[in-house]
Amino acid sequence: MEQPDPTIHQPVRLKIMAALKALPHGEAIEFVRLKAIVGATEGNLGAHITTLEDAGYVAVEKDFVGKRPRTRVAMTLQGRRAFDVYVAYLQEIIGAATSA
């Protein structure tokens, strides 16, 4: 890969993708939990999730638990593939530097 995926190649979005990839396939994570992992503000996290959603990398579900609104985010199959490719790209760079 010549260039890193520009959608994932951003620190907050990279952390979001890594956090989602750690979950079993098909599992979603609540927005508040994701916020704690990523360490971003609500608005910032929301904006980055929208970017990832537009790229087809994550799916967002909104529902209610009792009267409380809940937002959950899950990684799509397309997102998993893109993340794997991105991580392989990083490892390739490190590998090339090590062997040089």
């Binding site: 956090a19 750690a22 992992i37 760079i93 490190i94």
Partner: protein, 184 residues
């Protein structure tokens, strides 16, 4: 746009840290309902044993069966439709099976003579297992295990009546731990 190896290494470190944290919180979240359920079982079991000691064996037999069945139901209910059981689902069931087997096998070999020993031993083992699990799964488990073990030893050596102590602090500690695990 190309990355240096230092930048790539820094990005990979971020990935590893986010992955570790996400797995840890997921484990806490999934184990929370199980801990609350077992806390309630402990309260009923130890409280019932204190009130009606003659019925303690059938009471605990029924409660353990309820706990095992409840664990399976909770595991199935907490996963979304179409998602296969995660690696933690069967490990929880297996973990409780190992604890119960170890406790009853030790009773058979060592044959404790006093009610206090019967009461304290499972709590001591449970607390120790929490601490061991926490070495891999997160600090909250280690802290919870230490609290359970400390309360167990205090109860064993200094508290009377011991069954109500275990009902209150053992069961209570498990429920509080479960609630703690739900926070973020």
């Amino acid at each position: 746009m190309s990355l240096s190896s230092q930048e790539a290494q820094a990005s990979l470190s971020q990935v590893e840290e986010a992955t570790r944290r996400s797995s840890q919180l997921y484990f806490y979240h999934r184990s929370s309902p199980h801990l609350i359920m077992w806390g309630i079982i402990w309260i009923i079991g130890y409280g019932g044993t204190g009130l009606f000691p003659q019925y303690s064996n059938p009471l605990w037999a029924v409660l353990v069966l309820i706990g095992c069945a409840g664990g399976v139901i909770l595991g199935r209910c907490s996963k979304p439709d179409g998602v296969k059981s995660g690696p933690y689902a069967w490990r929880f069931a297996a973990l409780w099976a190992v604890i119960l087997f170890f406790v009853f096998a030790t009773y058979a070999i060592l044959q404790p003579q006093h009610g206090r020993q019967f009461a304290a031993y499972p709590a001591l083992i449970t607390g120790s297992v929490y601490m061991a699990v926490g070495l891999w799964s997160g600090l909250r488990y280690v802290i919870s295990g230490m609290v359970v073990v400390a309360l167990t030893l205090i109860g064993f050596f200094y508290i009377e009546p011991i069954f109500f102590w275990f009902a209150a602090v053992g069961g209570g500690a498990m429920i509080l731990t479960g609630l703690w695990f739900r926070t973020v």
